[in-house]
Symmetry: C2
Subunit: 351 residues, 2 copies
């Protein structure tokens, strides 16, 4: 049996813990609710119990290589503290790595605890085992409540100097745009996240411009991104417009990232990324218009809505074979497991 590490994804809603072999096989996954109402100690206790259970079980057949934990927020890697964590009340300033190490009672200089931002570990997961597995350099955007992000260079997370590189969600897209929780205005996550899609629908309903959406939202007055996507692919004009608008903003963000980083692959993840055929055409159109680097490196036969599946595999093969490397923008493959793979990987890379 192989050696293994543990990856944890601590979100505002779910707490997921997995044992992953060092060859990248997910051995076992435990999914719990994140019971924030009971306090951070309770959450950390539950996490550590599950980690103990998994490490105890698989330790009998392989070496335990360490644990990586992805948190939503700005993390100070040097001190192991959470600097900013709007979705984890009570965690700001918390010396979370120290607390976990204390509970886990790892022998010194053996298995270690590594804490990371959730966007960074998802990027590493997709690069290690997902959409970017054939590339050593890639970036990923996870579109959810906000926008998570991460840059992987040479198969490792590119941290920048304090572990904060990859804050794509707070890149300004509209200088005079919507206020963001970070203090800025017009941040990408106000326009190209899952919550932005829902908000755009609510605004269209409130303006009386979207009667079909208003009907779909009634009586509970709720309309999620998934329901909107279904309406869009059924041909609802308003829903379609919202996804096209979302695609344009996503393209605008990607255009900047491509111009700055010139990476081989950009992976789009998060639940809303699966609405690809509703937003990809306008995303690619915006990218071609706005990024001089993308225009020079776009795969020749990519045309937006069909830029996945067979053609995507073809472009990847072509990029590798002809040594004419192209910028591939594609969907994530691992879904919500990306963060578990990445967190497990980060523990091994830290050894």
């Amino acid at each position: 049996m192989p050696d293994f590490s543990i990856g944890v994804d601590l979100g505002g809603t779910n707490l997921r813990i997995a044992a992953v072999s060092d060859e990248g096989q997910l051995l076992e996954k435990i999914t719990l609710g994140t019971n924030l109402a009971l306090g951070r100690n309770h959450v950390i206790d539950e996490m550590c119990d599950a980690m103990q259970r998994l490490s105890g079980k698989y330790k009998e057949t392989g070496d335990f290589l360490g644990a990586g934990i992805g948190f939503p927020g700005l993390i100070d890697i040097a001190t192991g503290r959470l600097r900013k964590a709007v979705n984890l009340p009570g965690f700001e300033g918390y010396a979370v790595r120290e607390e976990i190490e204390r509970r886990m009672k790892f022998p010194k200089n053996d298995a270690r605890v590594v804490i990371e931002n959730d966007g960074r570990v998802a990027a590493l997961g997709e690069q290690w085992r997902g959409a970017a597995r054939n590339f050593s350099n890639a970036a990923m955007l996870t579109l959810g409540t906000g926008i998570g992000g991460g840059i992987v260079l040479g198969g490792k997370i590119w941290h920048g100097m304090n572990g904060m590189a990859g804050e794509f969600g707070h890149v300004t897209l509209e200088p005079e745009g919507r206020p963001c929780g970070c203090g800025n205005r017009g941040c990408a996550e106000q326009y190209a996240s899952a919550s932005a899609i829902v908000r755009m629908a609510q605004e269209a309903i409130a303006r009386g411009e979207a009667p079909t959406l208003a009907r779909a939202a009634a009586p509970a007055n709720e309309l999620g991104a998934e329901a909107l996507y279904k309406l869009a692919i059924q041909g609802d004009e308003q829903a379609g417009r919202i996804f096209r608008n979302f695609g344009r903003y996503l393209g605008l963000l990607l255009a900047s990232l491509v111009n700055i980083l010139n990476l081989e692959m950009f992976v789009i993840g998060g639940g809303v990324s699966s609405a690809w055929d509703a937003y990809a055409p306008s995303m690619f159109e915006e990218l071609r218009e706005r990024s001089v680097v993308y225009a020079a490196t776009a795969p020749p036969d990519f045309s937006g809505s069909d830029a996945f599946g067979k053609k995507e595999e073809g472009a990847v093969a072509q990029a590798k074979n002809r040594n004419e490397r192209k910028t591939i923008i594609t969907r994530a493959l691992l879904g919500s497991d990306a963060g578990l793979y990445g967190a497990a990987r980060v523990a091994v890379l830290a050894r």
Copy 2:
């Protein structure tokens, strides 16, 4: 005597060639005009003559390690061709590396010719011998007709996959903004370059909003960025407003770069960068407001206009000593020689 390499900076106006020791001492510099009217062969001949002269002279006292040449434009590093070079008519598609190697008749596998984008070599120059010499990771923006850029990671140019990483000038700042030569609208170089300053002044004059600038521009109807800077520091309100506006856009661009890259140091170069005290306060204000990463990592006692000189040195020392690393934004130190140092360095690194 030390070993040496040759660095070349081929601009639309000047052609400069320097011999630089591998320890980073500029041994000799030749400055010529770039006589584009006589055709690209003439320009390349003049460049190669000067390179032969310098290599012949210093070869007697040290080994010649190669030549690096910085070009304004998008370069395909793999093929040694210029893909896009708006300021060098006739050079697009030109197999420039091959041509230079043919003329220089280097012995095989010995000294080599490396071609690079001018923004990238300037960044490497400032990282090797200039403002960022104490850091191995840094980015530089050169503000001129356009905006040159480069990212240095681990003491080497970060190329991305095709050598195009660092196209900061074409990051979109205003989605519905001014058209740019690259095909996009609202590119950074339309707002935060030296030419943008001059254009903003011309527009203010044309709108009749800047009588003092109109007087200063008459009778030749010319007003350069330097003259505008002098007016600004003499208290001219319109000139001051133009630099503040420029600083805001530069801050907006830097905010995105800091959020994405989280580097230790960002160096601002190009002639207009010396107008620092006219634009730095609004640049820092914008950065603090717009970048969650900058806000978390800004040097505590930086306050814009006095963020240079003694305080800057202090912040660098502090950053190194306390292991609490801060984001330093500072002016370039090497002026137009940055590209020569960087081009010479790139030849040595390529060996």
